[in-house]
């Protein structure tokens, strides 16, 4: 088992490498670069743009730029010396073994070409809001999918099943961002019961993530949580409503499958209560494919989070990404994309491991 996990972990390295190469090339396929944000500015001369490009290393050939971004090449090197770090060892080695300190390999995601601050610290600030939103949405989403899926599967083609099915189809066809807009119109603009966006009430609560915020949180935990909760309601509904539909169908199919197995008939035959049969026996077996499916759907959660964060001005990674797209901030884009890909690849790995751990019929030698 451990060997399987280690082998799979090593296997993710080439995948991530290919991913990084692909996103780098895709972003380069489009014309222009970070200097494009000066295009509309008449005060910036071609000479200033050339200086900007030189300072950021954008005048180098694209393979060299990529090589520096990954951390195989040393930006201080010349000719073939680019592969050698300042301490005269191969640059890709970790810092303590005499390698360089630049590039993703050394944990350096570069600097925002817009603000000049480090990409890693920017992502660090944005991870928590996204994790809170996505995490709570995930919990609500999975519980709702399980609940509706099981209820639908207990009496397939019954009344409840039909209602849930229709709901799922409609939910599945909703554009996330439109649902968000409609919720804002209803609950924020007309009924005025919930905030239209943001993560905290700026009138009473300090900026999220700042030391003052945590002091406030320590002093008035109930107020802080209520405030956060009020701001979470609409974004979570938006994210969940669309996502729950597909998974609910999936749970239903898995449960129907499971309810037809012999061991379920045995459980019924020995006189177990129907509730026990459904939840103890059938449900446990249906859970496995559902869990794997959820793990595989994480990229969609991220994608949905972009839309949701934009509409509700939720200060997470999605909003940071949109701002980076607006300002042609390539380093931030690359950073967020590669982190997202890492999360997805690890989630896939988790799904595989879950399979191997939970299902004794599968062996991974």
């Amino acid at each position: 088992m451990i060997r399987f996990i280690i082998r799979r972990l090593i296997g993710t390295i080439p995948t991530l490498f290919v991913v990084s190469l692909l996103i780098y090339s895709i972003l380069q396929l489009a014309p222009g670069g970070p200097e494009q944000r000066f295009e509309q500015n008449p005060k910036i001369t071609p000479a200033a743009i050339a200086a900007f490009k030189h300072r950021w290393g954008l005048d180098q050939p694209i393979p060299v730029q990529y090589c520096r971004w990954v951390g195989i090449c040393n930006p201080d090197g010349e000719g073939l010396g680019v592969f050698i770090s300042n301490s005269r060892l191969p640059n890709f080695l970790p810092g303590f073994l005499g390698g360089g300190d630049n590039g993703v390999l050394h944990g350096d995601l570069g600097y925002s070409s817009n603000t000049g601050s480090s990409v890693a610290s920017l992502i660090g600030q944005r991870v928590l809001p996204t994790a809170i939103l996505a995490g709570i949405a995930l919990i609500v989403w999975v519980s709702l999918a399980l609940l509706t899926g099981i209820l639908a599967a207990v009496k397939p083609y019954g009344k409840l099943d039909t209602v849930i099915t229709i709901f799922n189809y409609v939910g599945f066809s909703f554009p996330t961002f439109w649902l968000g807009l409609m919720l804002i119109v209803l609950f924020a603009a007309n009924l005025r019961v919930l905030p239209a966006g943001g993560m905290w009430d700026a009138r009473t609560v300090p900026i999220f993530g700042s030391p003052e915020y945590w002091k406030f949180f320590g002093g008035h935990p109930v107020n802080a949580l209520v405030d956060l909760g009020r701001h979470l309601i609409l974004p979570v509904i938006t994210l969940v409503f669309v996502s729950v539909a597909g998974d609910s169908r999936f749970v239903r199919a898995a449960m129907i499958d499971s309810l037809h197995q012999d061991f379920v008939r045995t459980a019924r035959a020995k006189g177990l209560a129907e509730r026990k049969v459904v939840f103890r026996h059938a449900f446990r077996n249906a859970l496995l494919p559902v869990l794997t499916n959820v793990a595989l759907e994480l990229p969609f959660l991220f994608g949905g989070a972009i839309a949701t964060e934009t509409i509700f001005s939720w200060p997470g990674m999605g909003l940071a990404y949109i701002q980076a797209v607006r300002t042609f901030d390539y380093p931030v884009l690359m950073g967020i994309l590669i982190i997202t890909a890492l999360v997805v690849v690890l989630a896939n790995l988790l799904a595989d491991i879950l399979y191997a751990v939970v299902d004794p019929r599968i062996s991974y030698g």
């Binding site: 996103i23 961002f177 807009l181 603009a189 994608g303 797209v325 890909a341």
Partner: protein, 310 residues
């Protein structure tokens, strides 16, 4: 069969023709599709939206470029009325119904064309990977796997911004969505190819000296058409939502051209003043189109399944 009946008597029986009728794969599928209530409903919905998009502009009294006089009292737009059934937009006072009708046509066009490109590229890549196998397959599928581990909408957003800077023409959007939409279809076609290429009729064709290209595109692709059709149909819905999202964020088609997403994008500015109609109608159009396509795709999946009973 009743042994006492003569041939003449048999011919008189009402089901005589039906018994002898031989149906090909597509006729059988059509028969199954016709019995799928949700699929018919979905097709009707979809066709309705197509008709709205196509002939709507000739019926509606307004031109989609027409703007109204500024009106300080209704700066956020006027609610629906007899003159403007869907209300009008803020600031420029364009008629929302006119925008929705024109946007529907363009969104549908982008969705259908982009999915068609995806289907062609996906079939080509998947067909080659699945048939030849080996290192070609490994490389192609590694790329597909890698791209599928990205939230593609992120990439599309960045790409359309860098390419069009928020003023892309709609064919550019077709190309962008076509370029990123083929991955799923390639995987699907490859899987089907892997099983089909072991079939006897492929061996027979090869023994007869048929070229690889001809085997792939004359024998294997037609036999894997059903999953491609289903995936492409559902893909149209995905592109329509995706394009609406990209345009909504201001990275897509030029704001002056109405697509369903562009109309929503304008609505965002005034949404906090409670003018629901500007955002409601274009979004509802998206939901109707996508719902129709999803029902239709589901019906197609059942109808094209050769194991299903007629």
């Amino acid at each position: 069969m009743d042994s006492g009946a003569t041939l003449e008597e048999l011919e008189q029986r009402p089901d005589y023709d039906v018994q002898l009728e031989s149906l090909n794969q597509w006729q059988l599928a059509w028969r199954r599709f016709k019995r799928h209530r949700m699929a018919l409903l979905g097709s009707a919905l979809f066709l309705f939206m197509v008709v709205v998009g196509l002939i709507g502009p000739f019926i509606i009294p307004y031109d989609d470029t027409k703007i109204g006089l500024p009106d300080a009292k209704f700066n956020a737009g006027r609610p629906p009325s007899i003159a403007h059934l869907f209300g009008d937009t803020g600031r420029l006072h364009r008629d929302v119904l006119t925008l929705v009708v024109n946007g529907t046509r363009l969104s549908l066009l982008i969705g259908v064309l982009a999915s068609a490109i995806s289907a062609i590229v996906g079939t080509f890549v998947g067909g080659i990977a699945g048939y030849f196998g080996g290192w070609l397959d490994t490389i192609l599928m590694r790329i597909v796997d890698a791209l599928l581990s990205l939230p593609l909408l992120f990439v599309i957003l960045a790409f359309s911004q860098f390419l069009g800077e928020g003023h892309a023409s709609w064919p550019t959007m077709v190309l962008i969505f076509g370029m990123f939409g083929w991955l799923g279809i390639a995987r699907l076609v490859r899987a089907v190819m892997l099983s089909l290429r072991e079939e006897d009729y492929v061996d027979a064709a090869r023994a007869a000296g048929v070229s690889d290209v001809r085997i792939i595109f004359r024998h294997l692709v037609p036999n894997s058409l059903s999953p491609i059709i289903v995936a492409t149909t559902l893909g149209v819905a995905g592109v329509i939502i995706g394009e609406a999202f990209v345009s909504f964020l201001g990275f897509g088609v030029d704001p002056a051209t109405p697509t369903l997403g562009n109309i929503l994008s304008g609505a965002l500015e005034f949404i906090s003043q409670g003018n629901w109609w500007w955002a409601f109608f274009p979004g509802a159009a998206i939901v109707l189109i996508v719902l129709g396509i999803n029902f239709m795709g589901d019906g197609l999946r059942d109808a094209l399944d050769p194991r299903a009973k007629v």
